[in-house]
């Protein structure tokens, strides 16, 4: 063992490697991405790792590997589990041979997601056991125990860290590489009565799952991850039940004080009922401090009902804890102070003279080719009646002023089919769907087939920057690279679109504004489903060449560049445009927009 300063996600990866994982598949998504990247960086040669095209593919790859007796792991964010839910729901019935852990990172807030869904609730729904770590060290230990449990019971097991555990750092003790468990998988053993799902098998297995989960609840009641402290004493009348990162907020709020009885739940499903009974013994009232769903709260209410206990369970359902949003040290401290009848130290302490602060939402980078693509479509369509359906990725930021080019965004790949739905209601509207290259492979292709075959009329704009930019530049089938380090023929987006049957598929460099605008005008008027591939590399990966400069004597101060492009490298000083040379990448878009030719010197990547 040795000590390392690790991010929670890195700890999960190293824990999985120490537990002998041999196949890891996932799809990038904040806050989960670094788990798989850390596996790829640290793995031994016999471990296979891939960024799958989406979470469903990842779940199935990992399931196949576990069928063959290998230990496997899936990594995704909470909304990724929605994509993978079809295989997971059935896999819960079929089971696995090798241990299989599904790492699902939840995002309270949400900070970088569409929803605030709680994977603890999902685990109840799919009947799969779940571990809920409260720290980096616990995440490292839990992932190893999850593999053991999965293999012993023959079921996939979920590990659901939240953002503050995923992206928190701590120095923890980890196994040396030479002590990592190595396993030789037995291989797939044919047995269609086991591996082929049919209603009769599902009926039998459902009954087995319910029995297993009941006995697992007893086992979990003895687990170190579900603890009651201090030991029950007759004098205690109130208690606090908590979990995950909120546990640490509770501890910091009770800092240095003798505190009420605590129940920390690390395995919320199957719920450790016996441990909960031990906790509830003699209490009058309990405050449940949870983030996202009131999972423990509902379980405690059920335990009280089942055993006829008269303990008042408070939390989200009673309005004592906020029903949504991320918990903070303050929100938890306040809830505890109120529960314990302490004065609120924060009263009357708010400064009132704070100056106005600029708002700073995330923006497309200086030189980002997506800005040029959106701008070209905007220019080309002018005042025509249009709808711009966006998708998930950096280019969702095209919604911001002054571009204002994203009218809808729902979930991965939805832009194309949402545009189709709008077209069927408003056939006179020019419908556009913007989709990134990685999202196109993840779930855009099926949408294009659907729209094409069902006779829609819309323009698919593939914003191809040849990477998965938002999550940190992961490879995908369009990049010609894999996580195993292979360099191979990329899957051509243009060839895929043509194979579907699209007659018009044009590729254009968005940084060549005039040509891009002409292309959009021409293609948008074609009938049916047609596509434009805006191809230009992500500026974060490319090395900037010469930057653009404003000739102040030629700048007439119309500020068209500033007002129309919203580039973070463009500023106004003394009524004229100026360019921050530290940010400019020389994309030349502003040079092409300037009506007086006052900007020059940029060199496109």
């Amino acid at each position: 063992m040795h000590k390392e300063f690790l991010m929670g996600n890195e700890a999960i990866a190293l824990g999985a490697l120490a537990a002998g994982v041999s196949v890891v598949a996932g799809y990038p998504g904040t806050p989960s991405t670094e788990v798989l990247e850390t596996v790829a960086r640290n793995k031994t040669d016999d471990v296979y790792v891939e960024w799958s095209i989406n979470e469903k593919a990842a779940m199935e790859v990992a399931a196949g590997a576990a069928y063959a007796g290998a230990r496997s792991m899936v990594t995704c964010k909470q909304v990724g589990l929605n994509v993978a839910s079809d295989p997971l729901m059935s896999l819960a019935y079929i089971g696995v041979k090798g241990g299989m852990v599904v790492v699902v990172a939840d995002d309270p807030g949400p900070i970088s997601s569409q929803t605030e869904q709680d994977t603890r609730t999902f685990s109840q729904f799919c009947k799969v056991p779940v571990f809920d770590p409260s720290s980096v060290g616990e995440a490292y230990a839990m992932v190893q125990d999850a593999f053991e449990l999965s293999e012993r019971l023959g079921t996939p097991v979920i590990l659901r860290p939240t953002t503050r555990v995923d992206h928190g750092y701590e120095a923890i003790e980890v196994e040396d590489k030479d002590a990592w468990k190595r396993t030789a998988p037995e291989g797939f053993v044919k047995d269609s009565s086991h591996w082929v799902i049919f209603p009769r098998l599902s009926t039998a297995n459902h009954a087995k799952i319910e029995r297993r989960n009941a006995s697992l609840a007893d086992e979990f009641s003895r687990s170190v991850y579900n603890c009651v402290f201090p030991e029950s004493s007759a004098s205690e009348r109130v208690g606090i039940a908590t979990h995950g990162i909120s546990f640490t907020y509770v501890m910091d709020s009770l800092d240095g004080q003798s505190h009420p009885r605590l129940l920390k739940v690390g395995t919320p499903f199957p719920f450790p009922e016996r441990r909960a009974l031990e906790f509830l013994q003699g209490l009058d009232e309990v405050l449940c401090v949870e983030e996202l769903d009131p999972v423990i709260e509902r379980a405690l209410i059920a335990v009280c009902g089942k055993h006829g206990l008269s303990v008042r369970i408070r939390g989200k359902l009673t309005g004592d804890v906020a029903p949504s949003g991320e918990n903070t040290v303050e929100s938890v401290g306040l809830a505890i102070d109120r529960f314990l009848g302490r004065p609120d130290p924060r009263d009357g302490n708010q400064p009132t003279d704070v100056p106005q602060l600029p708002v700073r939402p995330p923006v497309l980078c200086a030189g980002c080719p997506h800005r040029a693509s959106f701008y070209a479509v905007k220019r080309a369509m002018g005042r025509r009646k249009t709808i711009y359906c966006g998708d998930i990725g950096c280019y969702t930021l095209g919604n911001a002023q002054p571009l204002d080019m994203v009218d809808t965004c729902l979930c991965m790949g939805a832009g194309i089919t949402i545009a189709q739905g709008i077209y069927h209601v408003e056939p006179d509207t020019a419908c556009f769907a913007f989709v990134g290259d990685s999202t196109f492979f993840a779930s855009g292709i099926t949408g294009v087939v659907n729209a094409y075959y069902n006779q829609a009329n819309l323009t698919v704009c593939v914003l191809d920057n040849s990477t998965t930019a938002m999550t940190g530049h992961q490879p995908h089938p369009g990049t010609g690279r894999t996580m195993m380090g292979q360099v191979l023929d990329a899957v051509s987006i243009e060839a895929v679109l043509r194979a579907i049957g699209l007659k018009t598929v044009e590729t254009v460099n968005p940084l060549d504004l005039e040509q891009a605008v002409c292309t959009v005008r021409r293609v948008a008027d074609e009938p049916g489903v047609k596509a434009i591939i805006f191809k230009s590399p992500c500026v974060v990966l490319a090395r900037p060449q010469a930057t653009s400069k404003v000739d102040a004597s030629a700048c007439v101060g119309c500020l068209r560049c500033v007002r129309e492009l919203g580039c973070p490298a463009l500023f106004v000083r003394d009524g004229k445009a100026v360019i921050d040379a530290n940010q400019c990448t020389g994309c030349t878009l502003c040079e092409q927009v300037c009506p007086t030719g006052a900007i020059s010197g940029g060199e496109r990547i």
Binding site: H167, T328, N349, Q356, P358, P362
Partner: protein, 189 residues
């Protein structure tokens, strides 16, 4: 000892490396460390922060409001945004180089640097202002602002780590070709 430190700035300014340097320096001294980072969409020019907790006795990676001993701000408006975390008598080390967001140039809330610096001066008794532009021109690069600020923080007395502790961390984490620049940045006063 226990230092609760908040680093804040704008995505892309190097707050994450600064928090790693603090953590590495503290670990070198045998101190327990916890940090929390902003990662993801906000890194695209949004407001970012890191919480760094050095020393015994903390459970959470996040610091509560009114409990930070030190705020190291890479940008003045971001210092004001995080000021609620500072404890009474705490220290703020701030770069006075403003980063004006796109929103302020196209009709969103304006950026009034004088009002923001005035507020910091009135509110924070232990305020250290770092002239980022002067540092960049003297050092020949704006890319080491994070290390300039860490150096200023260690000299302010509000940090239990000295320049020598930080130098060990810089030597360990900064790539060879930027090492000399960052060592000068650390001692830049």
């Amino acid at each position: 000892m226990r230092d609760d430190i908040i680093l804040c700035g704008v995505g892309g300014q190097g707050t994450v490396l600064a928090s790693k340097l603090l953590a590495a320096a503290a670990m070198e001294r045998g101190l327990p460390v916890k940090t929390a980072e902003t990662i993801g969409m906000a890194q695209r020019g949004g407001s970012v922060f890191s919480h760094v907790r050095l020393g015994e006795g903390s459970s959470s990676p996040l610091i509560g409001k009114g409990r930070a001993d030190l705020i190291i701000a890479f940008e003045p408006a971001e210092a004001v945004r995080q000021l609620g975390y500072l404890r009474n008598g705490g220290t703020v080390v701030v770069s006075q180089g403003a980063i004006v967001p796109v929103s302020a140039t196209i009709g969103g809330p304006a950026y009034d640097l004088d009002a923001i610096m005035g507020y910091l001066r009135a509110r924070v008794s232990n305020l250290v202002v770092v002239d980022a532009a002067a540092a960049a021109s003297e050092l020949g690069s704006a890319k080491c602002l994070n290390v300039v600020l860490l150096g200023a923080a260690s000299r302010s007395g509000a940090l239990s780590l000295g320049e020598d502790d930080l130098e060990v961390a810089v030597r360990r984490l900064v790539p060879e070709r930027f090492l000399e620049l960052n060592l000068r940045a650390l001692r830049f006063a």
